[in-house]
Subunit: 212 residues, 2 copies
């Protein structure tokens, strides 16, 4: 089956909730390596990808569309243009594997959705993208289920820790350091991050200082 | 295939990291309803269960063995006594479903393991329990992989948000309130907990006050 992935991406000053542990330059680099992990997994499923970026961005592994409007507006501009099933996947899912994405793509429902921890939406796959629209932010997981219902689309909720774990906060780095298999994990280890057990609990350290 | 589940359980003063939001009595009740959700899912897979409890406890849906020693000692006392495949599952996994457990039980490896968020181990399934021993606490997920390797056991790591999400901290309640399907979720809603979107982010409230 041929299909296409949309990956929203913010190249400038991304991941501000990581500001306490990463400088702006580091956050921009870290966001890029997380994006690479996502694109690589997407491409390994045989799927092509388009980045929806908020500013100019060079990428050899995906098409790039610069869109100045907000996240929802950009996605909802793109969706009706598809003539094939479409996946919307966030760029901050560095635990992603092609195998985890296959679970999403092999749904026999009209669409599949993977919630993010905390009520967000990490992956949406919809066979008829023109019938769906996105409403991210807040409790978007519930909102997306409602939108699907209103549109008469059947939905599979896919159970995947790898796809539910988005990296927003310093505490999310633990999962990436344990379970990551790609560039983002490597980037952290290459930048002084390490895991340590302290008083029976697992901690993230950087250059000897406890972060989480 | 016939197999048996071991569920460690602490009836008295459990879940102390929830003390800020639940009284001791409430924590004991909440721990019991979470345990019920786990036992129900286990039983729906066709599996029988034994609780390893730290003190006397009445339960009609499972066998009960009171063990005064520590968690690891209790489990490692029980494991070699099995003459069938065994699952060790934590009692604080109220997102569990029989379907998620089936993914674990259907492994074609010698054992399957589900990590907990933060480096712990939430579920272990081992076909020859006498070849394995448990070492919980700290970075137990890594330790359990090492133990399997030393014992020459092949391992599948099962990717499941439902089974990776253990409820320890107030922030974990969000996932239960969104994705729970059993008694524990009902218990929270029956005790004044609710979800609310505040400034675009999902919050847990209790009786009008923001908890997380």
């Amino acid at each position: 089956m041929y299909f296409h992935a949309l990956i929203p991406f913010k190249p400038k000053n991304p991941k501000t909730r990581l500001s306490a542990v990463l400088s702006q330059e580091e956050r921009e680099e870290f966001a890029r390596v997380m994006l690479c992990d996502v694109i690589n997994a997407v491409n390994r499923t045989g799927c092509t990808a388009t980045l929806l970026t908020t500013s100019k961005y060079e990428c050899h592994e995906a098409l790039v569309a610069v869109r100045k409007e907000g996240l929802n507006e950009a996605i909802n501009w793109a969706l009706p243009q598809f003539h094939c099933p479409a996946m919307i996947i966030m760029s901050d899912l560095p635990l992603v594997t092609a195998g985890a994405l296959q679970k999403v793509l092999s749904t026999d429902k009209d669409m599949a959705i993977v919630p993010g921890l905390g009520g967000g939406t990490n992956v949406i796959f919809v066979k008829k993208p023109e019938k769906f629209h996105a409403e991210y932010y807040g409790f978007s997981f519930r909102r997306h289920l409602e939108i699907a219902k209103e549109a008469g689309l059947s939905v599979e909720i896919v159970d995947s820790m790898r796809l539910s774990t988005d990296v927003d906060e310093p505490s999310d780095l633990v999962e990436l350091m344990i379970h990551g298999r790609g560039l983002a994990r490597e980037w952290l280890y290459g930048h002084g991050f390490e895991l340590n057990v302290e008083n029976g609990r697992l901690k993230v350290m950087r250059n000897g200082e406890t972060i989480v």
